[in-house]
């Protein structure tokens, strides 16, 4: 049942190796705040003409809570903590019913409830290490119709792992009932491997078990063609020119109206993507490294070519 040397056999990248060889060495410490603080990420993305959900306003201090009354003009929006990790503390409001707002799950929240949530965010409840945090309110992304059969309530997102500016491996993350609409694998979302050449989904993984059907909708999850696939990869490669982190996960969502948007960046992307793709990361990492130094400096088109070449090598 258990293989004792999965690294050699499948090229499996373990937590220790990811930390020791890739994130620790390729990601300079001083660049982490750009990624860990979603507000900063968003500002940087906007400044570089990279697509992301529009920021309405942010709440930085407790006394600014009174600005929350602005939301009464909003019908649907998302409240996020700037430094929340793993999708924690994100409140998605999909509709306004009288004086209350409807959550993605259907529950109604009053102004008071929302203010309480924001003050919890400011107190650092959801932030890494419990530090004081900021909250921001942004455009609610509406999921592309193609994902309707395989997404439960939330918005599926596409994670692209970039190594030295080259797209390395991708996965589509589908929210489930268990994950409460969030697209985080730790919380019970489904991860689906992607054929990066075509942008077509392969099989999935749910809680470290391989699956073929979505656990809630029972629809097959393989064979979905991701819209705007070329566009997504191009944006990912261009994003590297802004955030010079060598080993990074970029999360995209596909909005019905606006198309692909960068939701957030993650400097410590998870390892379950390997299960979703049924493939270890190590061979791909080694192929990218075999292109020698200076890959980071190449123009984005060149790096996309390297990615394609790498995929052909892995397959062949």
């Amino acid at each position: 049942m258990i293989c004792f040397n999965p690294r050699k056999k499948y090229g499996l990248l373990g937590m220790n190796q990811r930390n020791g060889w890739y994130t620790l060495i390729k990601n300079p410490r001083k660049l982490y705040p750009l990624v860990d603080d979603k507000l900063k990420t968003k500002q940087l993305l906007e400044a570089n003409q990279l697509p992301s959900p529009e920021l309405y306003f942010s709440i930085n201090f407790n006394f600014e809570l009174k600005f929350m009354r602005e939301i009464k003009f909003l019908k649907e929006f998302v409240i996020k903590p700037a430094r929340g990790a793993e999708g924690r503390g994100i409140l998605v409001l999909v509709d306004k019913v009288g004086n209350k707002w409807k959550k993605a799950g259907g529950a109604l929240l009053s102004m008071e409830d929302i203010e309480y949530h924001v003050s919890n965010v400011l107190a650092g409840l959801y932030s890494l290490g419990g530090l004081d945090d900021q909250a921001f309110i942004e455009y609610r992304v509406r999921s592309h119709v193609i994902f309707r059969p395989v997404a439960f309530q939330g918005v599926p997102d596409i994670r692209v792992i970039m190594y030295r500016g080259v797209p390395l491996m991708c996965m589509l993350r589908l929210p489930t009932k268990e994950s409460d609409g969030r697209a985080n694998l730790h919380q019970g979302a489904v991860g689906t491997g992607l054929d990066m050449l075509e942008g077509v989904t392969l099989g999935g993984v749910h809680h470290s078990l391989l699956i073929d059907k979505h656990p809630d909708t029972q629809m097959p999850i393989a064979g979905i063609r991701i819209p705007f696939w070329k566009n997504i990869l191009e944006t990912a490669v261009k994003t590297f020119d802004v955030f010079k982190l060598g080993y990074i996960g970029i999360d995209f969502v596909i909005d019905q109206i606006l198309g692909p948007l960068i939701l957030e960046l993650n400097a410590r992307p998870g390892l379950s993507i390997q299960l979703a793709n049924r493939e270890g990361l190590l061979p791909r990492l080694q192929i990218v490294d075999s292109f020698g130094p200076g890959i980071e400096e190449l123009p984005w088109k060149k790096r996309l070519e390297i990615s394609r070449e790498m995929l052909h090598k892995v397959k062949g």
């Binding site: 004792f4 499996l12 793993e86 470290s208 391989l210 049924r278």
Partner: protein, 521 residues
């Protein structure tokens, strides 16, 4: 990158090894070449129960002499007031006291002893002195005068003395005659209470105390300064019998004689001397019960005579240093479990602190309290969730409630006579309540199942650290050679570049194996 790390680790190991070998070969850590050297580890345990009044226990503690070295002393005082009275020329005495003692207590004194056997030559030409009180200095008069149980001026003693010694004046011969007389005439029999010298002479049946007193009385009658010495005959195992022998001052030194075991002017290497003079090993007031036993085992570390080592610290600081030394050991265990096995824990320091807390209260009690605290915190959080309170005040409330429930447990325990619940000291309590904060934060951040998993992981790692810390050899060698910490650092450096798969990851990625046969990969 890795080569630098390995080099640095190697360097640390070499420094540690050099320092240890320097200590072993030149630094007083040397194992002495004495042939008849013996190392023992002795534990004296006293179980006492108070009468509800003031209680006091005294125990004479062994001293360093030319033939015995006492080291690695450790006291467990069970929260009684403890102090050691040390004055030159008297016994070293440890006192335990409590102003109001009602419950049972266990006092422990553990130490190591290096003992030598010694054989003395009695000067053959020395004669008895005519007027001992003038010849010997004032300090020696107490060893010449009769005392309560050593009635050297008693008529029957004097009569027997004349009969045994006659006109002999040579000290060596006189002592031999007294020795043979006591050995030949008095039969050995174990008794509840030792007889005094007179009684022994009348009944001619006595235990070691009676025989020693008679020998001592006859020696004093002859004008030889003589005193009792008491201690334990060491044999591995549990015992509660003490032994008494005599020391006579001949030719400028105290020479031991043990009539019962026929040791004439020699002392074997398993005799541990605890006191001198006609004393009791234990004395106590205000107790309704007093039990004691000796637990004797073999020691494998020789004493260290190095001013620049931890042994030079005063004894209670040594205990503190020992605890400090355990922290890196615990950290090593935690690092191993986290990065090689992959067990989730509350930080790195959490399991270490818990393991240290378990050292003070037993691991069973620790687990009970920890589970109780986590459970209280969990239920409370469920209730508080409805009230919509800010995070930090909410945590403070949970902490307060945990403290209240611990206090309630203590009061209830005390009401039902379970007083041992009261003896949990502050430090373990604080650490255990601290886990509730980590529990709540994890619960908020990652959900309840993860919080329970992490709690379990923390407990398991803490238990592992606890058992590693309890290994006797670990404590002893770390204390003798703190350089081992450098070696631990070297191993941690290598662990810091360990990039292998964690054991828990084998389980997480187990599904990879199902794909082995498939071609879609």
């Amino acid at each position: 990158m890795n080569r630098k790390v390995y080099l640095f680790a190697l360097l640390l190991t070499l420094i540690a090894a050099a320092s240890i070998s320097a200590k072993v070969f030149y630094g007083g850590h040397a194992v002495s070449q004495e042939y008849s050297r013996h190392l023992w580890r002795i534990n004296i345990t006293m179980r006492i129960k108070g009468k509800g009044s003031r209680a006091k226990v005294r125990l004479t503690l062994p001293k360093n002499t030319e033939r015995q070295t006492i080291y690695n002393e450790h006291f467990e005082n069970d929260e009684m007031v403890f102090y050691v009275r040390e004055r030159p020329d008297t016994n070293r005495i440890g006192f335990w006291r409590s102003e109001l003692l009602e419950s049972s207590k266990t006092l422990q004194y553990t130490f190591s002893a290096q003992l030598k056997s010694l054989v003395y030559d009695l000067p053959q030409n020395l004669e008895l002195v005519a007027d001992p009180f003038k010849t010997f200095p004032v300090d020696f008069h107490r060893w010449l005068e009769p005392s309560e149980f050593i009635q050297s001026k008693d008529r029957s003693i004097k009569r027997h003395f004349k009969k045994v010694i006659g006109r002999e004046r040579k000290t060596a011969v006189v002592i031999r005659k007294i020795f043979d007389f006591v050995r030949g005439e008095v039969h050995y029999k174990t008794e509840r209470r030792s007889k005094d010298a007179k009684e022994t002479l009348k009944k001619l049946v006595a235990n070691c105390g009676g025989q020693a007193r008679l020998f001592c009385a006859l020696s004093r009658a002859a004008g030889i300064p003589s005193r009792l010495a008491g201690g334990i005959i060491l044999t591995a195992g549990v015992k509660n019998i003490t032994h008494v022998w005599v020391e006579n001052y001949v030719g400028g030194r105290w020479i031991p004689f043990d009539v019962v075991n026929n040791h004439y002017a020699l002392i074997p290497n398993h005799y541990l001397e605890l006191y001198r003079g006609d004393y009791y090993l234990f004395k106590y007031v205000g107790l309704s019960k007093f039990e004691y036993f000796f637990l004797i085992d073999v020691e494998n570390m020789p004493p260290v005579d190095n001013r620049w080592s931890l042994y030079a610290l005063p004894i209670h600081f040594q205990a503190f240093a020992k605890v400090l030394l355990l922290i890196p050991v615990g950290a090593f265990v935690v690092a191993f479990f986290r990065s090689v096995v992959g067990v989730p824990t509350y930080g790195t320091f959490g399991p270490i602190l818990l393991a240290l807390a378990f050292q003070e209260i037993s691991i069973g009690v620790g687990f009970f309290f920890l589970s109780a605290v986590v459970f209280t915190g969990w239920t409370l959080r469920k209730i508080l969730d409805h009230l919509k309170i800010l995070v930090i005040p909410r945590l403070a409330i949970i902490l307060t409630m945990v403290v209240i429930s611990v206090l309630v447990m203590m009061v209830v325990g005390s009401y039902f006579g379970q007083k041992n619940i009261l003896y949990i000291s502050l430090f373990p309590m604080i650490i255990i309540t601290w886990t509730i904060e980590r529990f709540s934060v994890t619960q908020i951040e990652d959900g309840t199942p993860v919080a329970f998993q992490t709690s379990l992981g923390t407990m398991a790692v803490a238990a592992a650290a606890y058992y590693v810390m309890r290994i006797h050899a670990v404590r002893i060698y770390l204390f003798a050679f703190p350089e081992i910490l450098l070696m631990i650092m070297a191993v941690l450096l290598i662990l810091g570049r360990y990039t292998g798969i964690r054991i828990f990851e084998l389980w997480r990625f187990r599904e990879f194996n199902r794909l082995k046969g498939k071609t879609s990969l």
